[in-house]
């Protein structure tokens, strides 16, 4: 599996992006990450819920209790307007970062 410390710095954006598409709960998100990356990257639950805490504290996401699942209520997350704006910013930042790093990494094998 890929070295995760580079991805780690962008987990906030990755999770915001997934929630932007539709409101989701924890396991759904971790499953989607594995699915989208074809298991090349898996998020650990401890990391995921730490990110939720952080994003909620920063008011980038909000949570609510949805339908009853296996014997309990599922906690869903939804992105806030502030979160959307933040995501837009980080996307721009990432594009720029990528271009800069590519300047040095491209053309070698």
């Amino acid at each position: 599996m890929i070295r995760s410390d580079i991805i780690r710095g962008h987990l906030d954006s990755i999770i915001l992006r997934l929630i932007l598409e539709k409101d989701q709960y924890g396991y759904e998100i971790s499953k989607q990450i594995s699915l989208k990356t074809k298991d090349r990257f898996q998020i650990k639950e401890a990391t995921l819920y730490a990110v939720f805490q952080r994003l909620e504290k920063k008011e980038l996401i909000e949570s609510y209790f949805g339908n009853i699942s296996h014997g309990g209520k599922r906690k869903y997350y939804t992105i806030t307007t502030f979160g959307k704006a933040y995501l837009k910013e980080t996307v721009k930042e990432w594009q720029e970062t990528k271009e800069i790093i590519d300047l040095f990494m491209e053309g070698l094998d």
Binding site: Y25, G26, S30, K44, A50, Q53, R74
Partner: protein, 131 residues
């Protein structure tokens, strides 16, 4: 599924109790149970599914850090220290000046101890600048 609950209980043991802790614990427990159920639906044995879920959970410290009672940031005392040193040295210097002019008005010697004492506010000033 008992193993999952026991494991989560164990993980959260050292985190101080709070309403938030209970909420997140509940949430994690539910999601982990769903993961186990999902893995079993994919054809894994219950034991394997539980073990994998526990192994993949990761490091509880990440959550602890987010929940952690925010460490009280050490109050910045450098400004106070600087003020105190200025006041203190002014007092000491004026004592020297007083003794000098009261007892030996003909020789001016108070300048020498003054230089020594000034190191105090000078070092405090530097400390204040640096922070």
């Amino acid at each position: 599924m008992r193993e999952i609950k026991n494991h989560v209980d164990e993980l959260f043991k050292k985190i101080p109790d709070s309403e938030q802790k209970e909420l997140i614990k509940q949430e994690i427990l539910e999601n982990l149970e769903e993961k186990v159920a999902d893995l079993m639906a994919q054809g894994k044995k219950e034991e394997d599914a539980i073990n994998r879920t526990i192994v993949e959970f990761g490091d509880i410290e990440e959550i602890e850090k987010e929940l952690g009672v925010s460490q009280p940031t050490k109050k910045n005392m450098t400004k106070f220290d600087l003020g105190f040193s200025i006041l203190g040295s002014a007092l000491i210097i004026s004592l020297f000046v007083f003794i000098n002019f009261y007892y030996t008005p003909k020789t001016i010697w108070f300048v020498y101890p003054t230089f020594a004492v000034l190191w105090w506010p000078l070092s405090m000033y530097y400390r204040w600048l640096r922070q």
